[in-house]
Protein backbone atom coordinates (compact mmCIF):
# COMPACT_ATOMS: atom_id res chain seq x y z
CA UNK A 1 0.00 0.00 0.00
CA UNK A 2 1.25 3.47 -0.81
CA UNK A 3 2.50 5.39 2.26
CA UNK A 4 -0.26 7.63 3.56
CA UNK A 5 -0.14 11.12 4.99
CA UNK A 6 -0.64 11.51 8.73
CA UNK A 7 -3.94 13.28 9.12
CA UNK A 8 -4.54 15.21 12.33
CA UNK A 9 -7.04 17.82 13.48
CA UNK A 10 -4.48 20.45 12.52
CA UNK A 11 -3.88 19.39 8.91
CA UNK A 12 -7.10 17.65 7.87
CA UNK A 13 -8.17 20.69 5.82
CA UNK A 14 -5.05 20.33 3.68
CA UNK A 15 -5.59 16.67 2.81
CA UNK A 16 -9.32 17.23 2.29
CA UNK A 17 -8.24 19.89 -0.18
CA UNK A 18 -5.88 17.53 -1.98
CA UNK A 19 -8.67 14.94 -2.18
CA UNK A 20 -10.69 17.64 -3.97
CA UNK A 21 -7.64 18.34 -6.20
CA UNK A 22 -6.97 21.69 -4.58
CA UNK A 23 -3.63 22.76 -3.09
CA UNK A 24 -4.42 24.75 0.05
CA UNK A 25 -2.20 26.95 2.19
CA UNK A 26 -3.07 27.70 5.80
CA UNK A 27 -3.78 31.38 6.49
CA UNK A 28 -4.18 33.35 9.69
CA UNK A 29 -7.41 35.32 9.51
CA UNK A 30 -6.03 37.88 11.99
CA UNK A 31 -2.71 38.82 10.38
CA UNK A 32 -3.12 37.06 7.00
CA UNK A 33 0.20 35.24 7.31
CA UNK A 34 0.51 32.05 5.25
CA UNK A 35 2.23 29.03 6.76
CA UNK A 36 3.16 25.49 5.75
CA UNK A 37 3.28 22.86 7.18
CA UNK A 38 0.10 23.80 9.05
CA UNK A 39 0.10 24.43 12.79
CA UNK A 40 -2.63 24.81 15.41
CA UNK A 41 -1.97 28.56 15.71
CA UNK A 42 -0.44 31.38 13.71
CA UNK A 43 3.35 31.25 14.09
CA UNK A 44 3.49 35.07 14.04
CA UNK A 45 0.50 36.46 15.98
CA UNK A 46 -0.62 33.34 17.91
CA UNK A 47 -4.20 33.52 16.67
CA UNK A 48 -6.10 30.24 16.53
CA UNK A 49 -8.40 31.70 13.87
CA UNK A 50 -7.00 29.99 10.81
CA UNK A 51 -8.43 29.27 7.40
CA UNK A 52 -6.86 28.46 4.04
CA UNK A 53 -6.45 29.86 0.57
CA UNK A 54 -6.13 27.89 -2.62
CA UNK A 55 -2.66 28.16 -4.09
CA UNK A 56 -2.20 28.99 -7.74
CA UNK A 57 -0.19 25.81 -7.98
CA UNK A 58 2.69 27.60 -9.66
CA UNK A 59 6.17 27.68 -8.21
CA UNK A 60 9.86 26.92 -8.65
CA UNK A 61 12.14 24.13 -7.51
CA UNK A 62 13.94 25.28 -4.36
CA UNK A 63 15.84 22.01 -4.02
CA UNK A 64 15.52 18.37 -5.00
CA UNK A 65 16.60 14.87 -4.07
CA UNK A 66 16.73 11.89 -6.41
CA UNK A 67 16.15 8.63 -4.58
CA UNK A 68 17.91 5.54 -5.96
CA UNK A 69 18.42 3.22 -3.00
CA UNK A 70 17.00 1.42 -1.13
CA UNK A 71 14.15 0.62 -3.53
CA UNK A 72 10.98 0.79 -1.48
CA UNK A 73 7.69 -0.44 -2.95
CA UNK A 74 5.57 0.95 -4.49
CA UNK A 75 7.87 3.75 -5.66
CA UNK A 76 9.53 3.74 -9.07
CA UNK A 77 13.26 4.59 -9.15
CA UNK A 78 14.98 6.88 -9.61
CA UNK A 79 12.34 8.94 -7.82
CA UNK A 80 12.60 12.72 -8.13
CA UNK A 81 11.41 14.56 -5.03
CA UNK A 82 11.23 18.33 -5.02
CA UNK A 83 10.93 21.13 -2.50
CA UNK A 84 8.84 23.76 -4.24
CA UNK A 85 8.75 27.48 -3.56
CA UNK A 86 5.10 28.29 -4.21
CA UNK A 87 4.51 31.72 -5.66
CA UNK A 88 2.48 32.58 -2.56
CA UNK A 89 5.70 32.26 -0.53
CA UNK A 90 5.41 28.92 1.28
CA UNK A 91 7.30 25.72 0.48
CA UNK A 92 6.03 22.19 0.01
CA UNK A 93 7.52 18.75 -0.69
CA UNK A 94 6.20 16.68 -3.56
CA UNK A 95 7.10 14.20 -6.25
CA UNK A 96 8.17 15.68 -9.60
CA UNK A 97 6.65 13.79 -12.52
CA UNK A 98 7.60 13.71 -16.18
CA UNK A 99 11.13 15.10 -15.80
CA UNK A 100 14.28 13.03 -16.24
CA UNK A 101 16.60 13.09 -13.23
CA UNK A 102 19.36 14.72 -15.29
CA UNK A 103 17.03 17.57 -16.26
CA UNK A 104 15.95 18.70 -12.79
CA UNK A 105 17.49 21.92 -11.61
CA UNK A 106 17.01 24.47 -8.90
CA UNK A 107 14.83 27.30 -10.17
CA UNK A 108 12.91 25.15 -12.65
CA UNK A 109 9.31 26.41 -12.96
CA UNK A 110 6.75 23.82 -11.93
CA UNK A 111 2.99 23.53 -11.59
CA UNK A 112 0.83 21.35 -9.40
CA UNK A 113 -1.14 18.34 -10.53
CA UNK A 114 -2.79 15.50 -8.67
CA UNK A 115 -2.75 11.71 -8.85
CA UNK A 116 -4.99 9.09 -7.28
CA UNK A 117 -3.31 5.92 -6.03
CA UNK A 118 -4.69 2.67 -4.58
CA UNK A 119 -8.13 3.87 -5.68
CA UNK A 120 -8.67 6.20 -2.74
CA UNK A 121 -5.46 8.14 -2.03
CA UNK A 122 -5.07 11.46 -3.82
CA UNK A 123 -1.68 13.18 -3.63
CA UNK A 124 -0.34 16.38 -5.08
CA UNK A 125 2.56 16.20 -7.50
CA UNK A 126 4.36 18.74 -9.65
CA UNK A 127 5.21 18.85 -13.34
CA UNK A 128 7.50 21.13 -15.30
CA UNK A 129 5.80 24.36 -16.28
CA UNK A 130 6.60 26.41 -19.36
CA UNK A 131 7.87 29.95 -19.43
CA UNK A 132 10.63 31.90 -17.73
CA UNK A 133 11.02 32.23 -13.98
Amino acid sequence: MHPRPGITHDNRFFWDGVAARKLLIQRCTACHRLQHPPAPACLACHSFALDAIEASGRGHVHSFAIAHHPPIPPFAYPNVIVLVDLEEGTRIVSRLAGVEPEEVEIGMPVAVDFETLDGDLTLHLFRRAGGPR
Binding site: P3, P37, S63, A65, H69, I81, V93, I106
Partner: protein, 393 residues
Protein backbone atom coordinates in the same frame (compact mmCIF):
# COMPACT_ATOMS: atom_id res chain seq x y z
CA UNK B 1 37.20 30.27 33.91
CA UNK B 2 33.59 29.22 33.92
CA UNK B 3 31.05 31.68 32.58
CA UNK B 4 28.02 29.55 33.39
CA UNK B 5 26.72 27.62 36.37
CA UNK B 6 27.98 24.22 35.33
CA UNK B 7 30.81 24.61 32.83
CA UNK B 8 34.14 23.22 34.06
CA UNK B 9 32.54 21.74 37.18
CA UNK B 10 32.29 18.14 35.97
CA UNK B 11 34.47 15.76 33.99
CA UNK B 12 34.29 12.55 32.02
CA UNK B 13 36.31 10.09 34.09
CA UNK B 14 35.54 6.79 32.41
CA UNK B 15 34.81 5.49 28.93
CA UNK B 16 33.74 2.03 27.81
CA UNK B 17 32.62 0.39 24.61
CA UNK B 18 31.86 -2.93 23.02
CA UNK B 19 33.32 -4.09 19.75
CA UNK B 20 31.63 -2.48 16.73
CA UNK B 21 30.07 -4.98 14.36
CA UNK B 22 27.26 -5.70 11.95
CA UNK B 23 25.80 -8.47 14.11
CA UNK B 24 26.53 -8.42 17.82
CA UNK B 25 24.63 -11.70 18.46
CA UNK B 26 23.53 -10.44 21.85
CA UNK B 27 20.86 -8.17 23.28
CA UNK B 28 21.02 -4.40 23.22
CA UNK B 29 20.71 -4.52 27.01
CA UNK B 30 23.76 -6.73 27.24
CA UNK B 31 25.68 -4.32 25.00
CA UNK B 32 24.67 -1.44 27.28
CA UNK B 33 25.72 -3.34 30.39
CA UNK B 34 29.07 -4.33 28.90
CA UNK B 35 29.84 -0.73 27.94
CA UNK B 36 28.72 0.70 31.28
CA UNK B 37 30.71 -1.83 33.33
CA UNK B 38 33.73 -1.19 31.13
CA UNK B 39 33.41 2.58 31.63
CA UNK B 40 33.10 2.20 35.39
CA UNK B 41 36.13 -0.09 35.53
CA UNK B 42 38.05 2.42 33.44
CA UNK B 43 37.16 5.13 35.96
CA UNK B 44 37.93 2.95 38.95
CA UNK B 45 34.37 3.25 40.21
CA UNK B 46 32.00 0.58 41.49
CA UNK B 47 28.49 0.12 40.06
CA UNK B 48 27.20 0.96 43.53
CA UNK B 49 28.66 4.45 43.04
CA UNK B 50 26.30 5.20 40.14
CA UNK B 51 23.36 7.37 41.14
CA UNK B 52 22.46 8.91 37.80
CA UNK B 53 21.81 7.66 34.27
CA UNK B 54 21.15 9.43 31.03
CA UNK B 55 20.53 8.12 27.55
CA UNK B 56 18.81 8.89 24.26
CA UNK B 57 15.03 8.95 23.97
CA UNK B 58 15.59 6.49 21.11
CA UNK B 59 17.57 4.01 23.22
CA UNK B 60 15.71 0.76 23.88
CA UNK B 61 17.33 0.10 27.27
CA UNK B 62 15.55 1.71 30.24
CA UNK B 63 17.79 3.31 32.83
CA UNK B 64 16.41 1.08 35.58
CA UNK B 65 17.12 -2.10 33.59
CA UNK B 66 20.71 -1.06 33.02
CA UNK B 67 21.12 -0.05 36.65
CA UNK B 68 19.69 -3.37 37.82
CA UNK B 69 21.85 -5.38 35.46
CA UNK B 70 25.10 -3.71 36.52
CA UNK B 71 24.25 -4.38 40.15
CA UNK B 72 23.70 -0.71 40.87
CA UNK B 73 21.75 0.73 43.77
CA UNK B 74 19.63 3.81 44.23
CA UNK B 75 19.20 6.15 41.25
CA UNK B 76 18.63 9.80 42.07
CA UNK B 77 18.73 11.17 38.54
CA UNK B 78 17.57 9.68 35.24
CA UNK B 79 16.96 11.55 32.06
CA UNK B 80 16.58 11.07 28.34
CA UNK B 81 17.24 13.36 25.43
CA UNK B 82 15.13 13.36 22.29
CA UNK B 83 15.87 13.75 18.57
CA UNK B 84 18.09 10.88 17.52
CA UNK B 85 21.81 11.53 17.36
CA UNK B 86 21.25 15.14 18.37
CA UNK B 87 21.17 13.75 21.91
CA UNK B 88 24.77 12.52 21.97
CA UNK B 89 26.51 15.45 23.64
CA UNK B 90 23.34 16.47 25.44
CA UNK B 91 23.44 13.31 27.55
CA UNK B 92 26.79 14.50 28.89
CA UNK B 93 25.33 17.99 29.37
CA UNK B 94 22.51 16.50 31.44
CA UNK B 95 25.05 14.64 33.55
CA UNK B 96 27.19 17.74 34.06
CA UNK B 97 24.13 19.77 35.05
CA UNK B 98 23.05 17.12 37.54
CA UNK B 99 26.52 16.89 39.06
CA UNK B 100 26.96 20.66 39.25
CA UNK B 101 23.54 21.04 40.85
CA UNK B 102 24.35 18.38 43.40
CA UNK B 103 21.46 16.08 42.54
CA UNK B 104 23.78 13.23 41.52
CA UNK B 105 27.42 12.30 42.09
CA UNK B 106 28.18 9.75 39.41
CA UNK B 107 26.15 9.80 36.20
CA UNK B 108 26.52 7.24 33.43
CA UNK B 109 25.60 8.19 29.85
CA UNK B 110 25.12 5.33 27.40
CA UNK B 111 23.87 4.37 23.94
CA UNK B 112 23.48 0.75 22.93
CA UNK B 113 21.97 -0.57 19.74
CA UNK B 114 21.76 -3.41 17.29
CA UNK B 115 21.26 -0.86 14.59
CA UNK B 116 22.48 -3.09 11.77
CA UNK B 117 21.33 -6.56 12.73
CA UNK B 118 17.90 -5.65 14.15
CA UNK B 119 16.58 -2.14 13.57
CA UNK B 120 18.17 -0.56 10.51
CA UNK B 121 17.88 3.23 10.44
CA UNK B 122 18.85 3.44 6.77
CA UNK B 123 15.51 2.04 5.62
CA UNK B 124 13.77 5.06 7.07
CA UNK B 125 10.12 5.26 8.02
CA UNK B 126 8.66 2.52 5.83
CA UNK B 127 6.78 1.03 8.75
CA UNK B 128 5.29 4.33 9.81
CA UNK B 129 1.82 3.82 11.28
CA UNK B 130 -0.38 6.72 10.35
CA UNK B 131 -3.88 5.46 11.11
CA UNK B 132 -3.96 7.54 14.29
CA UNK B 133 -0.90 9.72 13.91
CA UNK B 134 0.90 11.48 16.68
CA UNK B 135 2.37 14.91 16.05
CA UNK B 136 5.67 13.23 15.18
CA UNK B 137 4.36 10.58 12.82
CA UNK B 138 2.16 13.18 11.13
CA UNK B 139 5.35 15.16 10.53
CA UNK B 140 6.89 12.30 8.54
CA UNK B 141 3.58 12.03 6.70
CA UNK B 142 4.47 15.19 4.78
CA UNK B 143 7.33 13.29 3.13
CA UNK B 144 6.66 9.53 3.12
CA UNK B 145 3.84 9.61 0.52
CA UNK B 146 6.30 11.08 -1.98
CA UNK B 147 9.06 8.56 -1.30
CA UNK B 148 11.19 10.84 0.86
CA UNK B 149 11.53 8.11 3.44
CA UNK B 150 15.11 7.76 4.57
CA UNK B 151 17.69 9.78 6.50
CA UNK B 152 19.83 9.98 3.35
CA UNK B 153 16.86 11.41 1.47
CA UNK B 154 16.01 14.02 4.07
CA UNK B 155 19.64 15.19 4.12
CA UNK B 156 19.96 15.10 0.33
CA UNK B 157 17.35 17.84 -0.05
CA UNK B 158 19.46 20.23 2.06
CA UNK B 159 22.74 19.03 0.54
CA UNK B 160 21.56 19.78 -3.01
CA UNK B 161 20.75 23.34 -2.00
CA UNK B 162 24.11 23.69 -0.24
CA UNK B 163 25.89 22.76 -3.47
CA UNK B 164 23.83 25.34 -5.34
CA UNK B 165 24.24 28.14 -2.82
CA UNK B 166 27.98 27.81 -2.31
CA UNK B 167 29.35 26.37 -5.54
CA UNK B 168 30.60 23.23 -3.86
CA UNK B 169 30.79 19.87 -5.62
CA UNK B 170 30.19 16.31 -4.52
CA UNK B 171 33.98 15.90 -4.46
CA UNK B 172 33.96 18.32 -1.54
CA UNK B 173 31.59 15.94 0.26
CA UNK B 174 33.97 13.13 -0.65
CA UNK B 175 36.91 14.76 1.10
CA UNK B 176 35.13 14.15 4.40
CA UNK B 177 34.83 10.44 3.64
CA UNK B 178 38.44 10.20 2.55
CA UNK B 179 39.62 11.82 5.80
CA UNK B 180 37.47 9.64 8.04
CA UNK B 181 38.38 6.43 6.23
CA UNK B 182 42.07 7.32 6.40
CA UNK B 183 41.77 7.71 10.16
CA UNK B 184 39.70 4.53 10.54
CA UNK B 185 42.32 2.63 8.57
CA UNK B 186 44.77 2.87 11.48
CA UNK B 187 42.18 2.33 14.25
CA UNK B 188 41.85 -1.39 15.11
CA UNK B 189 38.45 -0.72 16.73
CA UNK B 190 37.05 0.68 13.48
CA UNK B 191 34.88 -1.42 11.19
CA UNK B 192 36.87 -0.05 8.25
CA UNK B 193 40.25 -0.72 9.87
CA UNK B 194 42.81 -1.19 7.13
CA UNK B 195 40.42 -0.04 4.40
CA UNK B 196 41.11 3.55 3.34
CA UNK B 197 39.41 5.03 0.27
CA UNK B 198 40.36 7.56 -2.38
CA UNK B 199 38.35 10.42 -3.78
CA UNK B 200 37.99 8.34 -6.94
CA UNK B 201 36.42 5.53 -4.89
CA UNK B 202 33.97 8.06 -3.50
CA UNK B 203 33.05 9.42 -6.91
CA UNK B 204 32.62 5.90 -8.30
CA UNK B 205 30.31 4.74 -5.50
CA UNK B 206 26.63 4.42 -6.39
CA UNK B 207 23.92 6.94 -5.77
CA UNK B 208 21.85 6.45 -2.64
CA UNK B 209 19.84 9.65 -2.83
CA UNK B 210 21.47 12.12 -5.17
CA UNK B 211 23.56 14.13 -4.39
CA UNK B 212 24.57 11.56 -1.76
CA UNK B 213 26.57 8.52 -2.80
CA UNK B 214 27.12 5.36 -0.80
CA UNK B 215 30.41 6.73 0.54
CA UNK B 216 28.69 9.88 1.82
CA UNK B 217 26.60 7.77 4.19
CA UNK B 218 27.79 6.43 7.51
CA UNK B 219 27.51 2.80 8.45
CA UNK B 220 24.82 0.98 10.33
CA UNK B 221 26.43 -0.64 13.36
CA UNK B 222 25.81 -2.84 16.35
CA UNK B 223 27.54 -1.75 19.53
CA UNK B 224 27.47 0.37 22.65
CA UNK B 225 29.42 3.20 24.23
CA UNK B 226 29.19 4.56 27.78
CA UNK B 227 30.88 7.43 29.60
CA UNK B 228 31.00 8.28 33.30
CA UNK B 229 30.62 11.85 34.59
CA UNK B 230 31.39 13.13 38.07
CA UNK B 231 32.52 16.30 39.82
CA UNK B 232 36.01 17.72 39.36
CA UNK B 233 36.64 17.17 43.06
CA UNK B 234 35.84 13.48 42.90
CA UNK B 235 37.57 13.16 39.56
CA UNK B 236 40.90 14.13 41.12
CA UNK B 237 40.93 10.94 43.18
CA UNK B 238 40.15 8.62 40.26
CA UNK B 239 42.31 6.47 38.05
CA UNK B 240 42.22 8.38 34.77
CA UNK B 241 43.16 11.92 33.81
CA UNK B 242 39.97 13.97 33.72
CA UNK B 243 38.38 15.19 30.53
CA UNK B 244 36.86 18.36 31.92
CA UNK B 245 33.52 19.42 30.45
CA UNK B 246 34.48 23.00 29.60
CA UNK B 247 31.18 23.70 27.89
CA UNK B 248 28.03 21.90 26.80
CA UNK B 249 24.99 23.17 24.95
CA UNK B 250 21.86 22.19 23.05
CA UNK B 251 20.18 23.98 20.18
CA UNK B 252 16.99 24.05 18.17
CA UNK B 253 16.53 27.00 15.85
CA UNK B 254 13.77 28.84 13.98
CA UNK B 255 11.15 26.58 12.42
CA UNK B 256 13.16 23.57 13.55
CA UNK B 257 12.01 20.26 12.12
CA UNK B 258 13.13 16.68 12.70
CA UNK B 259 15.42 16.07 9.68
CA UNK B 260 13.38 18.32 7.39
CA UNK B 261 14.09 21.95 8.29
CA UNK B 262 13.10 22.92 4.77
CA UNK B 263 11.05 26.02 5.49
CA UNK B 264 13.74 28.52 6.50
CA UNK B 265 15.20 31.13 4.20
CA UNK B 266 18.50 29.22 3.85
CA UNK B 267 18.28 25.44 4.05
CA UNK B 268 21.95 24.72 3.33
CA UNK B 269 23.05 25.96 6.75
CA UNK B 270 22.63 24.61 10.28
CA UNK B 271 21.45 27.51 12.47
CA UNK B 272 20.79 25.12 15.37
CA UNK B 273 24.50 24.24 15.36
CA UNK B 274 25.46 27.90 15.12
CA UNK B 275 23.32 28.45 18.22
CA UNK B 276 25.19 25.64 19.99
CA UNK B 277 28.53 27.13 18.92
CA UNK B 278 27.65 30.55 20.32
CA UNK B 279 26.78 29.02 23.68
CA UNK B 280 29.90 26.85 23.83
CA UNK B 281 32.15 29.79 23.09
CA UNK B 282 30.33 31.98 25.61
CA UNK B 283 30.54 29.35 28.35
CA UNK B 284 34.20 28.53 27.79
CA UNK B 285 35.71 31.75 26.51
CA UNK B 286 37.22 29.62 23.75
CA UNK B 287 36.95 29.97 19.99
CA UNK B 288 37.57 27.99 16.83
CA UNK B 289 41.33 28.63 16.98
CA UNK B 290 41.57 26.86 20.34
CA UNK B 291 40.92 23.30 19.15
CA UNK B 292 43.72 21.00 18.07
CA UNK B 293 41.21 18.39 16.88
CA UNK B 294 37.44 17.96 16.66
CA UNK B 295 34.88 15.21 16.40
CA UNK B 296 32.34 16.44 13.87
CA UNK B 297 29.16 14.35 13.60
CA UNK B 298 29.31 12.56 10.29
CA UNK B 299 26.19 10.53 9.62
CA UNK B 300 26.23 12.16 6.17
CA UNK B 301 29.16 14.10 4.75
CA UNK B 302 27.38 17.32 3.64
CA UNK B 303 26.54 18.39 7.17
CA UNK B 304 30.22 18.16 8.16
CA UNK B 305 30.84 21.11 5.83
CA UNK B 306 27.97 23.09 7.33
CA UNK B 307 29.26 22.35 10.85
CA UNK B 308 32.79 23.55 10.08
CA UNK B 309 31.12 26.80 9.05
CA UNK B 310 28.73 26.95 12.03
CA UNK B 311 31.67 26.70 14.44
CA UNK B 312 33.66 29.36 12.64
CA UNK B 313 36.52 27.19 11.43
CA UNK B 314 35.85 28.93 8.13
CA UNK B 315 33.31 31.32 6.69
CA UNK B 316 29.88 30.35 5.44
CA UNK B 317 30.19 28.39 2.21
CA UNK B 318 33.97 28.15 2.59
CA UNK B 319 34.29 24.63 3.98
CA UNK B 320 35.13 23.37 0.50
CA UNK B 321 38.21 25.59 0.51
CA UNK B 322 39.06 24.88 4.16
CA UNK B 323 39.15 21.13 3.54
CA UNK B 324 41.46 21.24 0.55
CA UNK B 325 44.96 19.85 0.85
CA UNK B 326 44.14 17.40 3.63
CA UNK B 327 43.43 20.12 6.16
CA UNK B 328 40.95 17.94 8.08
CA UNK B 329 43.27 14.92 8.04
CA UNK B 330 46.12 13.95 10.33
CA UNK B 331 48.83 16.55 9.85
CA UNK B 332 46.35 19.22 8.79
CA UNK B 333 45.29 22.32 10.68
CA UNK B 334 42.18 20.64 12.09
CA UNK B 335 42.24 16.83 11.97
CA UNK B 336 38.66 15.69 12.50
CA UNK B 337 37.27 12.34 13.56
CA UNK B 338 40.62 10.80 14.39
CA UNK B 339 38.88 7.51 15.26
CA UNK B 340 37.42 7.36 11.77
CA UNK B 341 34.08 8.90 12.66
CA UNK B 342 30.80 7.21 11.99
CA UNK B 343 31.80 6.85 8.36
CA UNK B 344 34.82 4.78 9.37
CA UNK B 345 34.68 3.51 12.95
CA UNK B 346 31.02 2.88 13.77
CA UNK B 347 27.64 4.57 14.00
CA UNK B 348 26.81 4.62 17.68
CA UNK B 349 24.73 7.78 17.39
CA UNK B 350 27.72 9.99 18.17
CA UNK B 351 28.66 8.47 21.52
CA UNK B 352 31.77 6.83 20.05
CA UNK B 353 32.85 10.35 19.11
CA UNK B 354 32.52 11.48 22.72
CA UNK B 355 34.74 8.57 23.76
CA UNK B 356 37.32 9.51 21.12
CA UNK B 357 37.40 13.10 22.37
CA UNK B 358 38.14 11.77 25.87
CA UNK B 359 41.00 9.66 24.51
CA UNK B 360 42.43 12.69 22.71
CA UNK B 361 42.34 14.69 25.96
CA UNK B 362 43.98 11.82 27.85
CA UNK B 363 46.59 11.29 25.14
CA UNK B 364 45.59 7.69 24.45
CA UNK B 365 44.00 7.85 20.99
CA UNK B 366 45.35 5.56 18.28
CA UNK B 367 45.73 8.60 16.03
CA UNK B 368 46.83 10.92 18.81
CA UNK B 369 47.24 14.63 18.16
CA UNK B 370 49.99 16.25 20.20
CA UNK B 371 49.45 18.41 22.07
CA UNK B 372 45.71 18.50 22.77
CA UNK B 373 44.25 21.11 25.07
CA UNK B 374 40.65 21.32 23.88
CA UNK B 375 38.49 19.06 21.74
CA UNK B 376 35.16 19.97 20.20
CA UNK B 377 32.58 17.18 19.90
CA UNK B 378 29.31 17.64 18.04
CA UNK B 379 26.09 15.64 17.90
CA UNK B 380 23.58 14.76 15.21
CA UNK B 381 22.72 17.24 12.50
CA UNK B 382 19.49 17.96 10.71
CA UNK B 383 17.84 17.55 14.10
CA UNK B 384 17.82 19.55 17.35
CA UNK B 385 21.38 19.03 18.44
CA UNK B 386 24.14 19.49 21.01
CA UNK B 387 27.90 19.73 21.41
CA UNK B 388 30.66 19.67 24.02
CA UNK B 389 34.07 21.11 24.63
CA UNK B 390 36.34 18.76 26.56
CA UNK B 391 39.70 19.84 27.94
CA UNK B 392 42.58 18.84 30.16
CA UNK B 393 42.27 19.36 33.90
Amino acid sequence: MSRSGFASRAAIVGIGQTEFSKDSRRSELRLAVEAVLSALADAGLDPRDVDGMCTFAMDNNPEIEVQRAIGGGELRFFSRVHFGGGAACATVMQAALAVAAGVADVVVCYRAMNERSVQRFGIGVQQLRLAQPTTESAHFGWYAPFGLLTPAGWVAMQAQRYLHDYGATTEDFGRVSVACRRHAATNPAAWFYGRPITLEDHQASRWIVRPLRLLDCCQESDGAVAVVVTSLERARDLRQPSAVIRAAAQGASDDQQMMTSYYRSGIGDLPEMALVARQLYEQSGLGAKDFETAVIYDHFTPFVLAQLEAFGFCGRGEAKDFMRGGNIELGGALPINTHGGQLGEAYIHGMNGVAEAVRQVRGTAVNQIDPVNHVLVTAGTGVPTSALILGRA
